[in-house]
């Protein structure tokens, strides 16, 4: 029964990893940008929500509703103002820019909020759970996070497959120059892709902040989980990202059953095994 509980808890945390990874996968798939600041952006969203809650006294759900669109706008502007300029200089330049952004964000957070560990108080919803049976209990927040991850991925999938702009996003991922020849403005399309990536990472950051403590320096560790979920699932595949997150979560959870010290190592080992034996990932994407 303990194993079943570990699998279920791992599966649920896999949803959070998928949320972290979805934006990373989208930015790489469409623009070939590896965003090293992705984890830090999640932490920025968490701190922003914390500041809004404590500064304005607004309820958390309202703050979440405000933070996510703000991040989408921030993503669009970051692409147009910062990343677009580096894109023409090749992949190394974008890597360096996002690395620099990561360091800047961490230090700005350190300056503004100090190195203290914080939590985002989600109230009884964040701590409450229901029992499936004697051995398995499911947290409301964990379940909501998983369902949210599935909804976000369905939303992105529908946007990409059913809308003209989504189609152009996929076309740009295939061939940027030809997408321009059918009228797609690459700057705008890349801005939209980054806006979606930032919005999803904000959701991930907020859900994470309600379940765990955070401080300005934890971004890179979130980035590693996101990377691992993307690679295990398959680059450029949204449902692969969810599967990758679930595999990573379940592996970590089972590892913890053997020895709590094995939690992270078990995930890393599965990641390495996938890289070695199935480098295209479990569900390879079309744009990978």
């Amino acid at each position: 029964m303990e194993i079943l509980n570990a699998v279920i808890q791992g599966l649920l945390i896999g949803g959070l990893y998928a949320l972290f990874a979805a934006g990373l996968s989208l930015m790489f798939g469409v623009m070939r940008i590896v965003n090293l600041a992705h984890g830090d952006l999640a932490v920025v969203a968490a701190f922003l929500a914390l500041a809004l809650v404590s500064g304005t006294g607004l309820p958390l759900w309202l703050v979440v509703l405000v933070t996510v669109p703000m991040f989408a706008l921030l993503g669009y502007l970051t692409q147009r103002v910062l990343l677009q300029r580096s894109l023409s200089s090749g992949p190394l330049a974008t890597l360096l820019v996002t690395f620099g952004l990561s360091i800047v964000l961490q230090n700005v957070l350190l300056e503004a909020f100090s190195a203290d560990t914080r939590t985002l108080d989600g109230g009884s919803f964040a701590t409450g759970s229901f029992r499936l049976n004697a051995a398995v209990s499911i947290g409301y927040l964990s379940l909501a996070t998983f369902l949210l991850a599935v909804l976000v991925l369905i939303g992105i999938q529908l946007f990409l497959s059913r809308t003209g702009l989504g189609r152009m996003l996929r076309a740009s991922a295939d061939d940027r120059e030809t997408a321009g020849l059918v009228g797609g403005n690459p700057r705008h399309i890349y801005g939209i892709a980054t806006a979606i990536a930032f919005a999803t990472v904000a959701i991930a950051g907020l859900m994470f902040a309600m379940r765990s403590s955070f401080d300005p320096s934890i971004g890179p560790s979130r980035l590693i989980f996101a990377f691992e979920a993307v690679v295990i699932g398959g680059l450029g595949s949204l449902w692969g990202t969810l599967l990758g997150g679930v595999v990573l979560g379940v592996t970590q959870s089972l590892g913890a059953q053997i020895d709590p010290a094995l939690t992270l190592l078990a995930g890393h080992l599965v990641f390495l095994a996938v890289l070695a034996f199935r480098p295209q990932g479990l569900i390879p994407g079309r744009t990978a």
Partner: protein, 237 residues
């Protein structure tokens, strides 16, 4: 009435002067073919008109509008659509999604998805198929359909025959009169001189980026075209 007017256009391909002070014009609804050997500057000319390669000097006007510095995606809105060399379909998209990318800018005009399926009936049955699984000729047809769906005033066709069997090329060219009869002008770049002469109302022959021969196909005899194409001086014959 002149639709496209190119004046003293120079385009560099790296260090090489691919198009050299070229001037030409395409009338409304006209089919102009630009022929020439490999490296004569034909594709560079089309890339400059489509907005993919910025010209070093000269000007490009569409009707009265100067589009010389307009980016490629805005030229689509202005009414220019390129069928690029090598088809360049979006390989991970289905046939229908490839076609629908052409509707992104939604210019008003006669071309709809239904009309493209009418022109190429096989496409409707295979609309859910991945574009990468099509043969070269089928990909070329999808690339033409995609360009038409933006309802262009000027269709740029770059080396339609490249890499295709002669029978496929003939079939592709058979649909061209039906396309231009609706009022769309076409600027064709082609190495297959016979095909180009058959469909064009006027022909330019390029040599080292310059126009060395111009005229209506019926006024040009084979020897003159051959000499212009290969750059053989008249005095040597």
């Amino acid at each position: 009435m002149t639709l496209l007017s190119i004046r003293d256009l120079t385009v560099h391909h790296g260090q090489l002067r691919a198009v050299d002070r070229l001037s030409l014009r395409v009338g409304e609804g006209e089919v102009l073919a630009v022929i020439g050997a490999n490296g004569a500057g034909k594709s560079s000319l089309l890339r400059a008109v489509a907005g993919l390669t910025p010209p070093s000097s000269g000007s490009i006007h569409l009707r009265d509008r100067d589009i010389t510095r307009l980016p490629a995606h805005e030229r689509v809105c202005a009414g220019v659509a390129l069928v690029p060399e090598g088809r360049r379909l979006f390989r991970s998209l289905t046939v229908q999604d490839n076609l629908l990318t052409g509707t992104y800018r939604k210019r008003p005009g006669p071309w709809t998805l239904a009309r493209v399926y009418e022109l190429f009936p096989w496409m409707a049955d295979r609309r859910r198929q991945n574009a990468a699984q099509l043969s070269g000729g089928e990909q070329q047809a999808v690339a033409i359909g995609r360009a038409l769906l933006s309802n262009p005033d000027l269709l740029l066709l770059d080396e339609l025959s490249l890499g295709l069997a002669p029978v496929v090329v003939r079939r592709i060219y058979e649909v061209l009169p039906g396309i231009v009869s609706g009022g769309t002008a076409a600027l064709i770049v082609e190495q297959d001189v016979a095909q180009a002469m058959r469909v064009a109302g006027r022909v330019h022959c390029l040599l080292e980026g310059r126009s060395v021969l111009e005229g209506r196909p019926q006024d040009l005899n084979a020897a003159r075209v051959e000499h212009a194409y290969f750059g053989i001086g008249e005095e040597r014959h």
